[in-house]
Subunit: 202 residues, 2 copies
């Protein structure tokens, strides 16, 4: 099988896919383009967005769907349907935080954007991050059922992106999430990926 | 098993869950609250949001994760992992349109909101809806692989909500999507649900 991942030259929404491909020890073409190339690439993408993954010539979009698909192959998508549900819930809770951050970060109206930052920093971020910290505390250091799942890899993979949008270190004062990050980045395949991946700001 | 679904007295994000429970012929408590009750209910919800589904006393949030879970029981979540991927992609593509509509509809800054409507109506909506119309045309009247899946039920379940936010009839001039809607609402269990559900504007 051949795998080609197309995205901007950043971690963000492609990094969960890169983490899973790396975890599976699948060789993949990490096709990164520069921002000025995007207008010419965008019309060629299935829904005008990236990342997309090409698997043996078949192009698929939607990063979370792709990550879930790869997670099943990795044995990280739950041992039964209930566990798969709990993992999907954890991932979508993380997405809700991501979307709150994105709603601020990508807002092009200066007045509207400025009005969002206070509630984001004082309410939304502590609300989600404290919930996550508690969940990790109650689950033996992981998001679901006391063992590694793709929810853990997903969280750590998008963390730089979340921090970038929040403009703060989301893990500060949250030792259990800090420990989860250390667990994930110490997985041999993830460690190897992080060492070899291009160094980018985001 | 006992099922209790808690949500506002509207279709929106709870309706895919109601469709799947109905399709499965599962009796469920359809616990609807009024908008003025929300401030007192919100703090009791796992992540401060609804819908939530209580299954034998276990409360779970995240409507899409719940709908996927129920779809597996209904045999509507794909016959293999690739098909499950394609269904997940279809659902997340619909979510992308929903989020573009929500970004407009829920914007509290009048200037920002007004600036979004033109691009939404002239670009985003035709882009997604025409893609969906083509996909249905290429797939024998369904979203994925020429047969009914939870992507089809999901789309029809949220359609009233999408139309409400768009302030237009998204199916106008799109006969294949119109036919898909007719197919789904003619499924005996969905037909029975639509006949008996509370009549609401949204």
């Amino acid at each position: 099988m051949s795998y080609k991942l197309t995205y901007f030259d950043v971690t963000a929404l492609a990094e969960p896919i890169r983490f899973l491909l790396s975890y599976l020890e699948i060789d993949f073409e990490d096709n990164r383009f520069q921002r000025e190339q995007w207008p010419s690439i965008k019309p060629t993408m299935p829904f005008g967005k990236v990342p997309v993954l090409e698997i043996d010539g078949k192009v698929v979009n939607q990063s979370t769907a792709i990550t879930r698909y790869l997670s099943k192959k990795a044995g990280l998508a739950g041992d039964d349907e209930w566990e798969s549900l709990l993992i999907d819930i954890a991932v979508d809770n993380i997405h809700d935080l991501r979307q709150a951050l994105a709603s601020y970060s990508y807002d092009t109206n200066e007045e509207s954007k400025a009005a969002k930052y206070g509630p984001l920093i004082n309410e939304t971020i502590p609300f989600y991050m404290d919930k996550f910290e508690n969940i990790i505390g109650e689950n033996n250091g992981y998001f679901v059922n006391g063992k590694l799942s793709w929810a853990d890899l997903f969280f750590v993979a998008v963390l730089d992106y979340l921090n970038y949008m929040a403009k703060i270190d989301l893990l500060e004062g949250r030792p259990k999430l800090q420990a989860l990050k250390e667990t994930v980045v110490a997985l041999p395949q993830i460690k190897a990926w992080i060492e070899k991946r291009p160094k980018t700001d985001l």
